[in-house]
């Protein structure tokens, strides 16, 4: 009798839509994984901390490079050529020469600094104003400031330098580029080293998360066996572990952002003082939104990959006997 009622009740039951079921199943897996992590706060925190530090290392190195680039960006003028013309060259001749040089493909701009303007500036800035008034004539030549095009390599800079020096009006050319170029090359090299290091650290995160998930699988061996016994598919058994990996990655990425942010905060004041000594208002650059999202995204991705590998390797072996 009771069994009959049971059946009637079942046939009357309304079915939920497959999408609702799918969503609620994922939601419960997702929250369940979070719950398991929260139930072992200390162990979970250590795992997340290791991931965070591993993510924060390349992130902070990237910030160092980014700031160095930003500071050296103001040094573009150091790449300029100063072309001192011979004393006999008139202002009209200098202007014509400036027009000619400016038409070259490898030159971006040419600025003429006439001799009298240069003298006026020198008077104003050097503090020798009164003494200079006694000079019978202006000892300074006209000067052309030549800024090369942005796509210049070391070789083309040398060539341009030679050609400018060989002009009949040129007295001499002054370039002060070498150390800037060396600096930029060093930054490039560091950037590459960081990329390689990041790959290694990414692999380390995969291993860390994979190992955590492996332990998790071992601890829940009985549960996995029972659920498989009553008809759970591999996907069903896999899903909670993938969500655990996702949470570890998300937690690690977020904590990495906090660590880097705190580091920038700690360095901001000293960096400001240092910039002040150089009469600069430079402020340390922090991670922008895109970079922050990239760090969190990397954490999540590595978390998923790590747990996927662990699950693929260890879950198949747990079969009911």
């Amino acid at each position: 009798m009771a069994v009959r009622q049971h059946r009637d009740a079942l046939s009357a039951a309304r079915r939920s839509s497959p999408l609702t079921i799918w969503l609620s199943r994922h939601a419960s897996n997702c929250l369940g994984a979070l719950g398991r992590i929260a139930r072992q706060p200390f162990a979970s925190f250590l795992t997340i901390l290791v991931i965070a530090v591993t993510l924060a290392l390349p992130a902070s190195m990237h910030l160092v490079i980014k700031n160095a680039r930003s500071v050296s960006g103001g040094w573009d003028s150091a790449l300029d050529f100063s072309l001192y013309l011979k004393p006999g060259v008139t202002r009209t001749q200098a202007e014509r020469l400036a027009d000619i040089i400016e038409q070259r493909a490898d030159v971006e701009t040419v600025t003429l600094i006439p001799a009298d303007e240069a003298l006026a500036e020198f008077k104003a800035q050097s503090g020798f104003g009164a003494a200079l008034d006694h000079l019978a004539e202006n000892p300074l030549p006209h000067t052309l400031v030549v800024r090369p095009g942005s796509a210049m390599t070391g070789l083309s800079v040398t060539l341009l330098n030679e050609e400018l020096a060989n002009l009949p009006e040129t007295d001499f050319v002054q370039v002060d580029t070498e150390w800037v170029q060396r600096f930029l090359v060093i930054l490039d090299m560091l950037q590459r080293a960081i990329t390689i290091g990041s790959l290694l650290l990414g692999a380390a995160i995969i291993v860390i998360i994979g190992n955590t998930i492996r332990l998790d699988i071992q601890n829940r061996r009985e549960e996995i066996e029972v659920t498989k016994l009553i008809g759970a598919s591999n996907a069903f058994v896999r899903r909670p572990f993938l969500y655990s990996g996702l949470w570890y990655g998300l937690g690690g990425g977020t904590l990495a952002l906090i660590l880097v942010g705190y580091g920038v905060y700690m360095l901001d004041a000293p960096a400001g003082r240092l910039a002040g000594l150089y009469n600069s208002a430079y402020r340390l650059l922090s991670l922008d939104l895109r970079e922050s999202l990239a760090i969190i995204g990397t954490g999540v991705l590595l978390g998923l990959v790590g747990s996927w590998l662990a699950v693929a390797r260890h879950l198949r072996r747990i079969e009911p006997r």
Partner: protein, 243 residues
């Protein structure tokens, strides 16, 4: 429902658990498989549940040849069968309700429908009041009833049980068997492996005795038993066949 044809199961060590076993269980039957431990009872149930595969011969369940079911389809196949185990195989980290709901969660049944089915199943085994308790706090007999509720919650056509009363005292054993009988009465085919001859004698169901991996005796061959059995199965509200 179950058709076992000339099945041999040889283990890697070389010993043979089944040596050419054949038997047929019809839809709606309730059958006991008996025999000493090592006679092949558990192996037979494992082959039916596709926990293991035969070395040769074939097992057909509800028209499906288990040999043709690939590994990835095993979960879907198992979901059609209710299984009860000697050690219950309940999960102690969650309450009775969640344990019984597990097959429905796996099958992706909606929450409200699942709750209704779980309560109905718990009502069947008379444990509705204990749905919030963890299985550990229940007596052994109650735990086994939870195991049965979990096995029948998705209303399988076939119920198999491996020594379901192995850990229970005689009174509780009889009670558990009564529950199996109730499900059998509404059309579920039931196959139970047990060595508790005294208990089985009280029930009067068909009995298949295994010895050394072959059928040694099958009650179906005895006519008077068949008559008896048919009597017991009459769905007309006759009193329980048990005292």
């Amino acid at each position: 429902m179950i058709q076992v044809e000339n099945v041999v199961k040889r283990f890697p060590g070389g010993q043979e658990a089944l040596r050419g076993l054949s038997l047929i269980v019809d839809k709606g039957e309730m059958v006991f498989v008996t025999g000493h431990s090592g006679a092949g009872k558990s192996t037979l149930l494992k082959l039916i549940a596709l926990i293991d595969r035969p070395t040769s011969g074939q097992v057909l369940v509800d028209g499906q040849n288990t040999r043709r079911i690939p590994r990835r389809r095993i979960p879907a196949y198992r979901r059609q069968i209710g299984m009860v185990f000697q050690d219950h195989k309940l999960l102690n980290d969650r309450p009775v309700f969640d344990n019984v709901a597990l097959p429905l969660v796996i099958a992706g049944v909606g929450r409200r429908e699942a709750a209704r089915k779980v309560r109905a199943a718990l009502d069947q085994v008379d444990l509705l009041r204990k749905e919030k308790q963890p299985p550990e706090t229940l007596s052994s007999g109650e735990q086994q009833r939870v195991g049965i509720a979990r096995a029948i919650v998705s209303r399988p056509k076939l119920l198999i049980a491996d020594e379901p009363t192995g850990n229970l005292d005689p009174d509780l054993s009889l009670e558990v068997m009564r529950i199996f009988r109730r499900f059998n009465e509404v059309g579920v085919t039931v196959l139970i492996a047990s060595h508790d001859i005294a208990l089985i004698d009280q029930l009067g169901c068909r009995r298949i005795r295994l010895e050394n991996g072959v059928v040694q005796q099958d009650d179906e061959d005895e006519e008077d038993f068949v008559a008896d059995y048919a009597e017991n199965l009459r769905p007309d509200g006759r009193p329980d066949p048990w005292p």
